[in-house]
C-alpha cells in the first residue's frame, strides 16, 4: 500500500531538514509518525555521503587509453586553462605536417554557462549554439553566437523566446560555409514529430528570420555544402535553405551526415520489410541527392575526410531500432572498437588500429583539423579528454582533461555537441560536480585553435 502524497511530502521536508540541519515548522507535525523513518534516513544519507566521497577520490583501475592520462592534475572546471598539443608526423594521413593546436577550457560568460546546450555548429561567421535556459520566471529556448568559441552572446532573444520551454523542445542547428539553419519544434509535434516545426535562417549567425516554407523535418543536418532535413519517411536536401529536393533516402532514418562538397555520407537506420529490428546503414553519395549503401562492414562512429581517404571510428554494427515499439537489439554486437579507413576500390573498411575496450561505452567522436585527427571522448570515469593523431594509430594526449562529475552523481553531464570549422574546434561539455564543490550543473566549452594558419 502506498503512503499518501501528503505523508511523503512531510517525509521529504523532514529529510531535507535533516540534511541541512535546518528547522522547518512543517516537519514537526509528521515527526511522531516518522521518527523511526528519520533515524534510518539519517543513517542512510550519512552512509551514502561517505560512499560518494570514497568513490570520488579513488582512481579508476583500468588499462584503457582513456585512463592512461593523468586525472589528478586536471584544471578545476570553473577556471580557464590553456595547453598546446602537437603530434608526431609518422605515416600521416595528411599531406601537410600538423599544426600545433592551442586548447582552452573555459566557462562561457552570460547565460550559456547556466543553460542546457543541445547543439552547436560552425558556419561562415563563427559558432552558433542552441539550447534552453532560464530567464526570469521561466525557461526558454536560446541561441548563442560566438566568433571564436570563447565569447558568447545572444543575438536575438526575443525572436526565439516564444518557441521555448515548456512548449517546445530543443533546437537543432547546422551550418555550411554560407549560412546557418536551425529548427525549433513547437508544442504540437504530433506522433511523427513533424506537426509543428519552424526553421530559421541566418547568414551571419546573429540575425535570423523564419523560413516561410520550411522543409518537412524533425531536425536539421549539414554535410559539406548541403543541408539535410530528415524525417521518418525520407530526407530532403538543399544548398540554400529555400529550394529543397528529395533524396532517394526514403526508408531510412538518418541521424548523422558527414561530408565535403562532392562526397557525402548518410548514417542512420533501415527496416527492410518492416522488420522489427532496424539495421544501421551507411550510404554515400557524390551529388548529395542519390545515395547508395556502403558495402562491407558498416561503421556507426564518426567519419572524417582526410587526403588519404575517409577514416571512421567505433564499432561493428550492433544496434537495433524499432520506431514504433520497444527497442530490440541485434545479435552481432561486440566490443570491437577501432579506427578504420575506407577502401574505395574494394568498397570495404580496413582496420587501422584497435581501441582497447574500456569500462562501458565511452561517448566519443573524431574530427579532422589543422592536418591531424582529433579525438574527443567522455570516459566512464566522467572526464573529457582529447587526443590528436596524424595516422589514427598513434594518439597523443592533448592535455585537455575536464572533470565532468562522478558516475554516481545523478545530475547532468555529457557532450551535447561539437563543431569544427576554419575558426577552430568547439566542444560543449556539461559539468556537474559533487554537492559542495559547485553550485550546480553548468556548461563548459573546450576550444581548440591552430597556432598558425594550417594552409
Amino acid at each position: 500500500m502506498y503512503r499518501t502524497d501528503d505523508e511523503m511530502l512531510a517525509v521529504v521536508y523532514s529529510r531535507a531538514d535533516a540534511g541541512r540541519r535546518r528547522t522547518r515548522g512543517r516537519a514537526v507535525g509528521a515527526a511522531t509518525a516518522m521518527t523511526a523513518v528519520l533515524v534510518a534516513v539519517v543513517l542512510v544519507v550519512s552512509t551514502r555521503s561517505r560512499d560518494a566521497r570514497v568513490i570520488a577520490t579513488t582512481p579508476t583501475a583500468t588499462t584503457s587509453p582513456e585512463a592512461s592520462t593523468s586525472s589528478t592534475s586536471a584544471p578545476p572546471p570553473t577556471t580557464t586553462s590553456t595547453v598546446t598539443s602537437t603530434v608526431p608526423r609518422t605515416k600521416s594521413l595528411f599531406e601537410a605536417p600538423p599544426v600545433p593546436i592551442t586548447w582552452k577550457t573555459i566557462r562561457p560568460d552570460g547565460t550559456m554557462s547556466r543553460s542546457t546546450v543541445s547543439g552547436i555548429a560552425a558556419g561562415p561567421n563563427g559558432f552558433v549554439a542552441v539550447g534552453r535556459g532560464v530567464n526570469g520566471s521561466g525557461a526558454q529556448s536560446r541561441v548563442w553566437f560566438s566568433p571564436d568559441g570563447e565569447h558568447w552572446t545572444e543575438p536575438d532573444e526575443a525572436l526565439f523566446a516564444p518557441l521555448g520551454y515548456p512548449i517546445g523542445y530543443p533546437f537543432a542547428i547546422a551550418a555550411t560555409s554560407e549560412r546557418y539553419l536551425l529548427t525549433a519544434i513547437g508544442p504540437n509535434p504530433g506522433l511523427d514529430g513533424l506537426g509543428d516545426t519552424s526553421v530559421f535562417e541566418s547568414l551571419d549567425g546573429q540575425s535570423w528570420h523564419r523560413l516561410a516554407n520550411p522543409p518537412n523535418t524533425v531536425g536539421i543536418l549539414a554535410a559539406g555544402d548541403r543541408f539535410y532535413a530528415p524525417n521518418p519517411y525520407g530526407m530532403l536536401t538543399s544548398t540554400d535553405g529555400q529550394q529543397w529536393l528529395p533524396t532517394n533516402v526514403t526508408d531510412r532514418e538518418v541521424t548523422r551526415m558527414y561530408g565535403e562538397p562532392g562526397r557525402y555520407f548518410a548514417q542512420g537506420f533501415t527496416r527492410p520489410n518492416d522488420e522489427a529490428v532496424g539495421r544501421p546503414v551507411l550510404q554515400q553519395s557524390f551529388d548529395g541527392i542519390t545515395f547508395t549503401p556502403v558495402a562491407g562492414e558498416t561503421l556507426y562512429g564518426s567519419k572524417v575526410f582526410t587526403p588519404s581517404g575517409v577514416v571512421a571510428t567505433e564499432a561493428k554494427p550492433c544496434f537495433g531500432h524499432n520506431v514504433d515499439g520497444p527497442w530490440v537489439l541485434r545479435d552481432d554486437c561486440g566490443p570491437d572498437h577501432g579506427y578504420f579507413r575506407y577502401d574505395e576500390q574494394e568498397d570495404r573498411w580496413n582496420k587501422l588500429a584497435q581501441i582497447e575496450p574500456g569500462p562501458g561505452f565511452p561517448f566519443e567522436f573524431m574530427l579532422a583539423y589543422a592536418h591531424q585527427l582529433v579525438r574527443i571522448a567522455e570516459g566512464t570515469d566522467a572526464r573529457l579528454r582529447v587526443w590528436t593523431s596524424t595516422n589514427a594509430i598513434d594518439w597523443t594526449p592533448a592535455g585537455v582533461d575536464v572533470e565532468m562529475g562522478t558516475n554516481r552523481n545523478p545530475a547532468m553531464s555529457g557532450l551535447p555537441g561539437y563543431a569544427v570549422g576554419p575558426l577552430g574546434i568547439v566542444a560543449v561539455v556539461e559539468v556537474t560536480l559533487s554537492p559542495g564543490r559547485d553550485e550546480g550543473p553548468h556548461t563548459m566549452v573546450v576550444v581548440g585553435r591552430h597556432q598558425s594558419n594550417p594552409d
Binding site: D5, S14, V44, V218, R256, H321, W327, L329, N409, S413
Partner: protein
C-alpha cells in the same frame, strides 16, 4: 518556495516512485528512494527549482538512488542473486546491475525511455538534448545492456 516545491512534488512524485519501484521492486524501498531524491531537490531548490529539466533531475536522482539500493542489497546477500529469488527478481537485478555500468547519459536515456515510459521527444526535452542524440544514447545503452545480459529480449 514551498508552494512551488509542493506543486512540483505532487506532479512528479508518482512518476519518481514508479521509476524507483521498477528498479527496487518493493513499495517501501521505492517510496524511500523517491523521497530521498525529492529531499535532495528541496535542499538545492534555489538551483534545481529553476532548472528547465528539474523533473528529469529528480528522476535521475531517484534512479541512481534505486540502483544504489539494489547494489547494497546484492552485496549483503553475497549475490549475484539470492537463491530464493524469483526469475523476475533475478532479471530485474541483472538488468539494474548492467544498467549501472552504463555511462550516465545512456543510463538516463534508457531509464527515462523504458522505466519512466517517456517518448523519445519527451526524453529529449527532459535531458535537453536532441531526439537524434537520445536515440543514439538508447542504441548504445541497449546494445551494452544486451551484451551484459546476453538475453533474447530486454
Amino acid at each position: 518556495v514551498e508552494r512551488d516545491f509542493d506543486e512540483f512534488f505532487r506532479a512528479s512524485y508518482p512518476v519518481a516512485r514508479s521509476v524507483a519501484l521498477r528498479i527496487v521492486g518493493s513499495i517501501p524501498e521505492a517510496e524511500d528512494v523517491a523521497a530521498d531524491a525529492f529531499a535532495k531537490a528541496l535542499r538545492r531548490w534555489s538551483t534545481v527549482g529553476s532548472l528547465p529539466y528539474r523533473e528529469a533531475w529528480v528522476l535521475r536522482v531517484t534512479t541512481n538512488g534505486a540502483i544504489d539500493v539494489v547494489r547494497r542489497s546484492q552485496r549483503r546477500r553475497s549475490l549475484p542473486v539470492a537463491e530464493n529469488s524469483s526469475p523476475e527478481t533475478e532479471t530485474r537485478l541483472a538488468l539494474v546491475s548492467a544498467l549501472a555500468q552504463l555511462p550516465r547519459r545512456q543510463q538516463e536515456a534508457v531509464v527515462l525511455r523504458h522505466f519512466a515510459d517517456l517518448t523519445p521527444p519527451e526524453v529529449a526535452a527532459s535531458l535537453g538534448i536532441s531526439v537524434n542524440t537520445v536515440k543514439r544514447h538508447l542504441q548504445r545503452g541497449l546494445a551494452a545492456l544486451r551484451l551484459q545480459l546476453d538475453e533474447e529480449d530486454l
